[in-house]
């Protein structure tokens, strides 16, 4: 059976304010989905709620992984079940070396039933694999000895996210604006990297404003989000259209959702940071 991540009629509020108003989306392993939409339309909230962010309240709907409703699972359990999110703004963990963090994470994800305190992947084995993956991503080995995202440039953070993706090899990966903050060459490298590390085996949801990240990861489906709903779904041509023409036409085609968008942005300015 083809593995699927299925989102049905998902309603989500953050601090009492509705952000998602009935999202439906099904991703199968091996598919690439692009998710586009204006700022504040709910893309990052959708990513966060799939990963299990604790401050998002789901009032209605389900998220199913191969038929299991995962809404009650915490982020750790979801990660161990094969879900991954590349953060738009990864968190710095000062004093914790990338290599130590990754060894712990990789061990847990590969042995989902591991109990705290049980053995980690043998150091030698882990180092070898990490070195290979870093070489593949053209990353300096020194990177592994740096503290997680601490003092990283925007580009370094995004590359660190891709390294994590490469090590954890999830079934489903959500890339939340992995291209933002990167220059053209860096986006190209990122795009190639994702394809190289076996993106084809994963179900991928790419949240982006640009089409460059899609270059090597051509979407099978493009979704447009507006006012907390997916209002249109098309092929790769839709992504190109949105990239070149913006969202005005989408708003015209979906006046009701555009009205919701307007309302959300007028009441939600102060929340913007929280839901971005």
């Amino acid at each position: 059976m083809l593995e699927t991540l299925k989102i049905t009629n998902l309603h989500v509020a953050v601090e009492g304010k509705p952000i998602l108003n009935g999202v439906n989306l099904t991703i199968r392993r091996g598919e690439v989905h692009a998710l586009m939409g204006p700022n504040g339309s709910g893309k990052s909230t959708l990513a966060g709620v799939i990963m299990g962010h604790p401050s998002y309240d789901v009032s209605e709907g389900t998220i199913e992984l191969n038929g299991d409703n995962i809404l009650e699972w915490d982020a750790s359990e979801r990660a161990r079940a094969g879900i991954f999110m590349a953060f738009q703004r990864p968190m710095a963990i000062p004093g914790v070396k990338m290599a130590d963090f990754l060894r712990h994470a990789t061990t847990n994800v590969r042995n989902p039933n591991r109990k705290e305190g049980e053995q980690l992947i043998p150091m030698r084995e882990f180092r070898k694999e990490l070195r290979e993956k870093m070489a593949q991503l053209k990353m300096d080995e020194e990177f592994a000895r740096r503290y997680v995202n601490d003092g990283f440039s925007g580009g370094e953070m995004k590359r660190a996210e891709i390294l994590q993706l490469a090590m954890l090899l999830p079934k489903f990966a959500i890339l939340d604006e992995t291209d933002s903050g990167l220059d053209v060459d860096a986006v190209k490298l990122a795009s190639q990297s994702i394809a190289e590390i076996g993106g084809a085996e994963m179900g991928i949801l790419i949240i982006t404003h640009h089409d460059r990240l899609l270059e090597h990861n051509v979407p099978d489906f493009t979704h447009v989000m507006l006012g907390g709903r997916i209002v249109e779904t098309g092929g790769v041509e839709l992504a190109r259209e949105l990239y070149t023409e913006g969202y005005e036409k989408v708003r015209e085609r979906h006046p009701e959702d555009a009205a919701v968008e307007k309302e959300m942005s007028s009441t939600g300015k102060t929340l913007a940071a929280g839901v971005a």
């Binding site: 750790s76 953060f87 968190m91 000062p94 004093g95 994470a105 847990n108 989902p112 705290e116 954890l168």
Partner: protein
Amino acid sequence: MATDLIASDETGIGEINKYDFVTPSHAVFKARRGLNSQIVAEISEMKGEPRWMRDFRLNSLKLFESRPLPRWGGDIALDFQDIYYYLKPTDHQGKTWDDVPAEIKETFDKLGIPEAEKKFLAGVKAQFESEVVYGSLKEDLAKKGVIFTDTDTAVREHGDLVREYLGTIIPPGDNKFAALNSAVWSGGSFIYVPKGVKIEFPLQAYFRINAERMGQFERTLIIVDEGAEVHYVEGCTAPMYSTESLHSAVVEVVVRRGARCRYTTIQNWANNIYNLVTKRAVAYGDSLMEWIDGNLGSRLTMKYPAVYMMEPGARGEILSIAFASKGQHQDAGAKVVHCAPHTKSRIISKSISKNGGRSSYRGLCKVQDGAIGSKSNVVCDALILDPASRSDTYPYIEVEEQDVHVEHEASVSRIGEEQLFYLQSRGLTEAEASSMIVSGFIEPLVKELPMEYAVEMNRLIELQMEGSVG
């Protein structure tokens, strides 16, 4: 300091005491509960001390009685008359691990301290007397003139040296608890490193665990002579255990010209201990004094290791970690006093508060008039794990000289939901994620420790973190 002409004749001490103080042979001695001059005199008598030390104690007792409790720091709810100030070991010989609070016993078990060390702790006296672990080392060093012994023995065998320095760095009247220690002290380390002798491996003191023997009032004196080097470690691989309610040590360190001394402490106290300790070093020309101070457990800890930089080129570094959990208040910090030109100091303090624990950084940076070209850098970071916990910073900066460079940075952070979410999204449990954030927070200090102590410190922190996430 009280003087005694007879006692200054070192060769005479033993003889005189043998006649002066007749102790019942092999009798159990337990000072009566409470504190008065008679009890202090009895302690001195029990130890067969020279007269000068007895007078030192009695004089200190008067100072203790006249001093008020500190009006700052934490609440000290102690009845000084309800404490046993001296207990001879035989009182506790029948003790088993079953007498130990379950929490502490469990900690030792979880620490995986080898069976041999467990035996060591159970039979502290024997181990203390034989000093097998350090026997060979001591022998090597002894040939070079190094002295490493307990302070009681030092009073008997190196009376002149002890008498010259004891109570000069921290006079009995310095504060109420220094006075108390001076009156009732027992045990502690005495170290003398002769000129130019560099001791490669750390000197380690395990006998401090023998609270019964030494009481809770250890007295340590370290003299590092010109160009010599020593690293002294206490209470590290065996967290200290004490059933008593008060631990009040005094540690004095003299670092002569061009010498180096590193003093590492990792304390893991039971939750019913008041840990009120005075630690001070004087550092002479071009010398370096380092305090590395890890404070875990206790009900209240008040401890501010100090370095007085007495001559040009002296340096003082203090690294401090405090971990306050439920029912614990860590009022810890550091003091640096620049008394001479071109002296340099650095303080790094890291504190963690969880489960309603309270940690405070309290520090003094003082630059005296004339200490031109001196530099001081103070960084204190606090990490708060939950809303019930608390952290405060009390930096005191007194600069009497213009031509100096003094920096102070302080930060307080909470373990953020976003940090936890990030780590959990990579498959770490909430507990693993918190633990990782905490170990990262103290990493800059832990990496300063020798490997085995760094491992120990991390394990202690992990133990503190266990079950901390609700």
